[in-house]
Symmetry: C2
Subunit: 253 residues, 2 copies
DNA sequence: ATGCCTTTGTGAACGCGTGCACAAAGATGG
DNA sequence: CCATCTTTGTGCACGCGTTCACAAAGGCAT
């Protein structure tokens, strides 16, 4: 096995579907906004609208957490904020390290969303010796040599990888070996990790390509009457990349 | 309707499942790497390993595009790169605007992944007059006033929002009104858009919270024999946010 | 040319997620 | 205390996505 291991055997966590878990932060954000406006209760319909989901889905999601609503009234905002926070594990502090303090890493370090709820940037780590000691977002950048000691001393279990793609797997391996069991990967690479380690990836170019696909579809559909394969003319790939700029298109049949 | 509209009626595009579309960029990346190493052909097994997916899934994904493989041999790397690129619409140039040139916006502008395949940063836009004209990633930052004209003059259909959450919906509305039909949202907000506009979001804090959930589960499970609700002690929420730091936990039954 | 071996392409089964629609539950007013 | 009205919680059905397993297809050696 070279790169990936995408089977998810035990992802389903104690009866809470993964899809629900992914929406809880959304609900929490909407609820926090309501809480700040001192709204006491909210119906599933209202909250669902605020979170951009179906109200039935929201109710079913909440049903996995327990019966926290009051029929005829709705949900107590403060109470629900607390319950979801607890379920997500945000009632405790999660020290996080960011590895790779380039443009993106620095932006992440400065991002307020980190410190806000339960997450604390324990250290910024970069391989460039010239970066060492320089303050970024109020923290001195540490050198990669210190990675293991930082992890163990701070009890870090969540690592953020913002390195170039080439360094990501190596950094990942070191993080895991040092005790990190959750990784948020911003590098455009598939990371290979042992069982028990969670990896989530954020990939700009993948998102853009998905958008481009739909964009192309929209553009192609509106100008075409009913043809099967409408695409006007397609440039053969010839850009910088390949050494031989020849056209590989050999449409078989 | 305040915020969201997440129903997806016509997402399924011309027979290609959305899940497949989301994986095509992954395959493309793996194939490009093979292409650079001048590997002529690749089997579904090898490619699947490189992309971190199941080989059966990969074959089924490719089957939606057509019969591009050769039984007993595998897939022609160059040919497949071309086919996937074409399907994703990467054979044409997509001008993109980035709105909100803060830390994150600047990082995105500097990100190489943009220019690489089919995407070209047409303009960087920020609301701060002090930013106007300042070069970021080799491009002068333009003021928000010019947003509409930039969109129309460059034929921009994809917009990236990297503004603070408070400005995101407003920026989104202006982008859409000016003709943008695909949006990549980095702001932590649910965007409301009219039908026909695609929105994809990248949300750091949501990803972290999902990781925290699983992390909490791992930690709770390994130290507990078989108890039902093991969580040791849970701090009541009392942090900075709310004006009244009172405990909303009133466990009902 | 023939048989073997490898690998694709896909039919079928299964499981997860979603949404409908409704009964149960509680609040509220008379 | 009872009727009514609102809103939750959920049983059920449906569709999408994943995976298995295998037949068909093609290359290759003899």
């Amino acid at each position: 096995m070279a790169t990936g291991r995408t089977h998810r055997p035990a992802t389903r966590s104690r009866g809470i579907p993964e899809a629900t878990v992914a929406r809880l932060p959304l609900y929490l954000r909407a609820l926090t906004a309501l809480s700040e406006r001192s709204v006491p209760t909210v119906s599933s319909e209202e909250l669902a609208a605020a979170a951009g989901v179906n109200s039935a889905k929201l109710r079913k999601d909440f049903s996995y957490l327990g019966s926290y609503g009051t029929r005829g009234v709705g949900y107590d905002v403060e109470y629900l904020v607390y319950q979801i926070s607890r379920e997500l594990g945000l009632t405790q502090d999660w020290p996080v390290v960011i590895v790779g303090i380039g443009n993106l890493g620095a932006a992440l370090a400065n991002y307020g969303g980190f410190a806000s709820r339960g997450f604390r940037v324990a250290a910024l780590i970069d391989a460039d010796p010239a970066m060492a000691g320089k303050p970024v977002a109020g923290l001195p950048v540490r050198h990669t040599d210190e990675l293991e000691s930082i992890i163990t001393e701070n009890g870090v279990s969540i690592g953020v990888i913002a390195t170039p793609a080439g360094a990501a797997q190596q950094v990942c391996d070191r993080l895991v070996a040092a005790g990190v069991t959750s990784i948020l990967n911003f590098a455009p690479t598939v990371l290979s990790v042992p069982e028990g380690v969670d990896v989530r990836k954020v990939d700009l170019s993948i998102e853009l390509q998905i958008l481009a696909f739909h964009e192309q579809r929209k553009a192609g559909e509106e100008s075409m009457p009913s043809a099967g394969q409408p695409r006007a003319e397609v440039r053969a790939p010839e850009g910088g990349k390949g050494p031989d700029g020849e056209i590989p298109a050999v449409m078989p049949a």
